[in-house]
């Protein structure tokens, strides 16, 4: 256990607690129920974060969440009985699946959540170790939860998938304000190939649908950093993968091309159509040509966009924003350019 320097406190969500990351995935199972195995205050803190984020989504489904409210007695004598009681209550609510998320306290006293979960009949249970003190933060929790639901997917019966290939979006950032907008854009790009998103793993997905994962024909990861998670998902050997939602003009075309190749389709026409669409979008912002802009950072896709619009990148130019996360697809670039136009 090497000691690490004290982290600088920043508002980046990726630095948050492992439990929040795991919760962001578990709560996105639309018929699921989540048990936070820990003190009620710890559960409430993270649930508050989740619900506050959901308030930004009109009509969003509120997830069903329980805590077994561990106190000093459970710390001394173990919290497994409290978890078993919470699981009984959860089963009575007849959810599609139950997620058990552990906390620092439960991990520190060594509760065997897996063993308790094994005692549940009739409802599938996933256990996600989510003690924040174990390190890794929000992203570790998110990835552990994806892994746990992957293991669950392998145990579920395969639902009727119809004739169409199954394209799975993997690891959408459920607390991102634009998560659904990104998914819509991915759907639009796949539509160029006459294909559609078949599974969102895991966002607004009923438990049963997760059984589509093992037979998926293409995995589209939200970001390249999810590759280690994808490698351990229970999919067929050689299942093609696109590692990351596309960001930038050429990356978007590359995405269409790669998805077509993975699905055994000729993507030539689809790429031409998308390229023409990009030209049309750029034409809407042709008035920006010649503007001097100052960028807070200059990744390749930004330089490409600036060049396409004949913008002049200059440290003394007008400051324009770069969103975090970066804009996805052509639609994301169009929204970004609209913001730049307001800034200029």
């Amino acid at each position: 256990m090497p000691s690490s320097p004290s982290p600088l406190l920043t508002p980046r969500r990726s630095d948050g607690c492992t439990l929040a990351g795991a919760l962001s995935v578990a709560a996105a199972v639309s018929d699921g129920l989540t048990i936070v195995h820990g003190p009620a205050g710890c559960a409430h803190h993270h649930v508050s974060l989740l619900l506050t984020t959901l308030l930004d989504r009109p009509g969003a489904r509120l997830p069903v969440l329980l805590t077994d409210d561990l106190g000093e007695e459970e710390v001394i004598f173990g919290g497994e009985k409290a978890l078993a009681r919470a699981l009984d209550q959860a089963v009575d609510r007849n959810p599609g699946s139950i997620a058990v998320l552990s906390t620092c306290v439960a991990e520190a006293i060594g509760d065997d959540c897996e063993a308790v979960a094994d005692g549940v009949d009739g409802v599938p249970v996933v256990v996600v170790p989510a003690g924040g003190f174990l390190g890794g933060g929000f992203l570790a929790g998110e990835r552990a939860a994806l892994q746990a639901y992957g293991a669950l997917a392998a145990r579920l019966p395969a639902p009727d998938r119809g004739e169409e290939p199954v394209i799975a979006l993997v690891g959408e950032k459920n607390l991102e304000f634009e998560a659904d907008t990104h998914a819509v854009e991915l759907g639009r790009l796949l539509g160029r190939l006459d294909r559609e998103v078949g599974l969102r793993f895991v966002r607004d997905a009923p438990t049963e649908s997760l059984g589509l994962l093992p037979g998926a024909d293409l995995l589209v990861l939200r970001e390249p950093a999810l590759a280690p998670v994808a490698e351990r998902l229970p999919v067929r050997p050689g299942t093609p993968r696109v590692d990351g939602f596309p960001v930038g003009l050429s990356a978007t075309l590359d995405f269409v091309r790669a998805a077509g190749a993975a699905l055994g389709l000729d993507a030539g026409a689809a790429c031409e159509a998308e390229a023409a669409h990009q030209e049309a979008v750029l034409a809407r912002f042709a008035g920006l040509a010649g503007s001097r802009v100052r960028l807070p950072a200059e990744p390749g896709w930004v330089r490409e966009l600036a060049d396409a619009l004949d913008l002049v990148v200059d440290p003394t130019g007008a400051p324009v924003p770069l969103p975090d996360p970066a804009p996805v697809g052509t639609a994301g670039l169009a929204r970004l350019l609209a913001r730049w136009r307001r800034a200029l």
Binding site: V75, I76, F77
Partner: protein, 273 residues
Amino acid sequence: MKQIALYGKGGIGKSTTSANLSAALGESGRSVLQVGCDPKHDSTRMLMHGEPLPTVLELVRERGADGVALEDVVRTGYAGVRCVEAGGPEPGIGCAGRGIIATFQLLEQRGALEADVIVYDVLGDVVCGGFAMPMREGYAEEVYLVTSGELMSLYAANNIAKAIARLAERPRCRCRLAGVILNAKGMEREEELVRAFAEAIGSRLVASIPRDRTVQMAELHRRTVIEYAPDSAQAAVYRRLAEDLLRNTDLSIPRPLDQDALESLAFAHAPSF
């Protein structure tokens, strides 16, 4: 008030030594409280003639802390010694160290920690912060390391010395090492080795308790040696220990050994073959 804690490796004879020490002190007219700080809650068994005590944590679990009165957890045993057992979780579950902290908080709140001498009998090694709590929070002002000449026992004693040394750096901590007690296994050159160990860590051997069948016989009869065989040589050893501990003012901050030094010490005093 004198607050004494006996620490040492599991099974080395802390509870036997503690109970006989308490019995000897009680016999001499002192008010004595013995607190067993081991989840297996058998520290005071001989003082209570085998009667199992309800443990503090067991009652807290049944009734909640507010439902536990002092008379529920403190029982009077041989020679008027008041006995308490902290108790704790079943092996392999929960956090026994947190249980020790909760027990001391409850005993403190109930005003139980009052006597001429309080003897704390603490689980084997300092396995976590919870078991160091009696030292850290100023309950165990004088710590005695109970050990035999076996290397693993010395290793545990040395570990506890490390904890005392670390805690003693804190300005408010009153915990000090008061000495080493040899509870002999009957090994060749055993006393010589333990004396050398005590001196090497900056302390001294305060008592050497010989291996004697009287101890086993007393335990089989659920009695301390002091009660079962009051005129025996072994009882005299425990009485002498009690008087020595009462008079002892030679407290120190130990200088624990590193692993190599400890093993070299043991090697240098190894029996000849």
